[in-house]
Amino acid sequence: MIDSKKRLHASRIKDKLIFLLQLVTLFLLSVFSACRCHPEASLKADNTLHVIVSSSPESLDPRFATSAVASHLSELIFASLFVIGEDLLPESFLAKDIEQINPVTYLVHLRPNLFFHDGTPLTAEDVAYTFSSLKDPDVRSPHAEKFNYTQSVQAISEHTIQFVLKAPFAPFLTDLCSLGIVSKKHCQNRSQQCRHEIMGSGPYRLTQFDKVTDTLILQAQTQWFEAGPLLPRIEVRVVKDSTTRLLELIKGKADFNSGETSPVQTSVVQKYPEQLILKKTPGLGFAYLAMNLRGPKNTKAIKESEEDRTRRALTDVRVRKALALSIDINAILKYKFHGMATRATGLIPPQHWAKSQQLSPLLYDPITARSLLDQAGFTDRGPGKGQRFKITISTSPDRFRQSIALIYAQNFRDLGIETQLRIKDFSALYQDIKQGNFEIFSLIWTPVVEPDLFHWIFHSSNIPGPEKGGGNRGAYLDPIIDELIIQARTSTNLEIRKVLYEKIEMRLLETLPYIPLWFEDEIVVMNRNVLHFTPSRTGSLLGLRHVKLMRTNSKGPL
């Protein structure tokens, strides 16, 4: 009996000891795992800049990159002949200078000692190949039509390329800023493989692209032409959600957020003044509301359908003006953007060389708006009858954009227009827009650097059709605008172009195919350990090459 009691007692002690041991093990495991996962500890140990972006690049080859993220990352790997400067005029980069022989012939001189990432020299042959390959049907570049105005691109010496255009074309120099140079040796006759095997010419070479974790590792190019050291290593990760991106910065898992930061989120940065810093610069993204000007589908119907009534309304300039006057844009800029956007009077951003200072924005005036609608014959038929007319605003599912579209909807309802929102994911929305399947949509043109964009957006030759692409998605037709746009793109004199663009903007503000809204600031949120970065107006990440990292518990600045 005593033995059995002792055994029971011993067994209880043993159980307690095991339980205690388990607790200690659990505690130690938690401590170790916490230490291992502590982000700051892992970040501070290296000299890598950890960048987060909002989406995965569809391609890093500049001939295939279309999204903003892909284009900006591609710039780091593939250098272009020229880059857009802060004055929005081209500055030399791989090219030393450009010489205009006659209105259609240009000679571009390359810098000496340029190399690709494998050490082979970058020559005029590579430049000529890059531009010619765009037109190659085997390459199937989405930018194939961009350089259609070139007659020929030829290497006339090791460092000189001759561009011959079909006709004088003013935006040519700006277009040279948009295409990074690829290696002819690496890409010739193997366009598809070349798209995936990156051999760049830029300040950074791609050493790893893990598509499972959406992570890119970039190492500084040793044979880069610019003086001064480059930031040695950049790790780029994709974090799709904007709140998570902010969290990553706060937790120290990332140094630099180049993804879209909503102006509302910027107030969070102020809560972490010792850790985070926000830098902004006036952006070039033109936000607008576009209207479908195609008119009624069935003009012979005895009883006009609601859809045709809306389509007829939108062809009337008084209705378009009424819609423009009904939106309190200044209130949106104040409360939604917290001043991080500038009011737009047209497609050309403020401080642009071609911007006219004489244009003034349409001010919020719902009383005049109602009177304009009455004058146009769209009187209020009362609730349930579509009121004045019915309208659908198409927008993307992005929360911030949706919330702004709700403001337009309320403003339009206040005028007596029955309004509803159509939310579609971006690809479906874009498809609808391209096919003219919309009434009003809200999007952003970004970045507006070259004012010749007017030709793509408003010239009648660019109204998209079943077998034809084009940026004139609202089907705006105005012979005066057509003529002015052609004059502006064929003149190489900046002063003459400026006068012409001023006339174009004035005409567009009168006829209102678009309601100009605002230009959103380029916002970059980064850790305070990132020094010497100035955000670019175009959103370019090229400035990262001059960044210095200050790791607080390391041996000093890296």
């Binding site: 709140t243 989120q265 809560k271 409360y335 939604k336 929360r399 949706q402 403001i407 309320q410 929102l421």
Partner: protein, 275 residues
């Protein structure tokens, strides 16, 4: 329902608590909008994301009043959940009764169809359907019903299988009663207990599913007040306006708890073994 059952129901603390909670939300959803008006749903940009200190329960995106949104949201959530339950229940009862009553090959085929539907995770299928359809309240109901009826059909079938061999059913068959009469008059009234329990739990999951769909932006049209949509805003502005996540979260939590309490209570009431 027998008076004895009602007494048991009222004496059961779980069912009583559940009933009170649900009744409160139904009353809020029904009469709240009428009392509070719709001014709070209009945009007041100067109030955007202001916290409860600025008034009532604070303000959401575009300065929409959170309390008004929650009250209107209660109406939407309960309406969607109840409509979906009624539709799912109707389909499930008819389907399960036919399958269970006729048995054999009909049962086998009908059950394989159910197995196929069960192979998809319910919410995932609802998300898929809602993503294809445009954001409309009716489409949310359709998406939730698409898989919602399956659970009821299984319960009904199981009950019918056990009841169809009872003497009173055999007697009705022997007397020449028609099949639909046997099912409607003799079988379904006797299996209502388990179905009601299942429905009360189902309502709770439908409220959660509806919130999830709205949270993913696949639910009601934008601008329509709903708990899930408010919760979605709350996540986006977690750092700046945590009240946007807290209040709809509490509402969803309490309502789901209420339905679960009710379900537990009903199970106790209808469980003969526990008497």
């Amino acid at each position: 329902m027998e008076q004895r059952t009602i007494k048991r129901f009222l004496k059961n603390p779980s069912s009583l608590a559940g009933t009170i909670i649900i009744l409160c939300f139904i009353l809020i959803g029904t009469f709240g909008p009428w009392l509070i008006g719709d001014q709070g749903l209009l945009i007041h940009l100067d109030m955007e994301l202001k916290g409860p200190s600025a008034g009532r329960l604070g303000f959401a995106e575009n300065g929409v009043d959170v309390l008004t949104s929650l009250i209107y949201g209660a109406r939407i959530s309960l309406l969607i959940a109840m409509t979906s339950t009624v539709i799912s229940l109707s389909i499930g009862i008819v389907y399960g009764a036919i399958s269970g009553f006729f048995g054999n090959r009909i049962d086998a085929i009908m059950m394989r169809i159910i197995d196929m539907l069960l192979a998809f995770p319910g919410l995932l299928l609802a998300i898929y359907i809602a993503a294809i359809l445009s954001p409309k309240t009716i489409n949310v109901v359709f998406a939730l019903c698409a898989t919602g009826w399956v659970g009821y059909a299984r319960v009904v079938r199981a009950q019918v299988l056990s009841i169809k061999n009872y003497d009173y059913v055999i007697a009705a068959t022997s007397l020449g009663a028609k099949t639909h009469r046997i099912i409607l008059i003799h079988i379904i009234p006797n299996i209502l207990g388990p179905i009601i329990i299942q429905a009360s739990f189902g309502l709770a999951s439908l409220i959660l599913a509806e919130a999830a769909l709205n949270f993913l932006g696949l639910g009601v049209p934008p601008g329509t007040p709903s708990w899930g949509a408010l919760l979605d805003q709350g996540v986006s502005y977690l750092f700046i306006a945590p009240h946007l996540a807290i209040f709809p979260g509490i509402c969803i939590g309490i309502t789901v708890l209420g339905f679960n309490f009710l379900g537990d209570g009903l199970r106790d009431v209808f469980d003969v073994k526990s008497q």
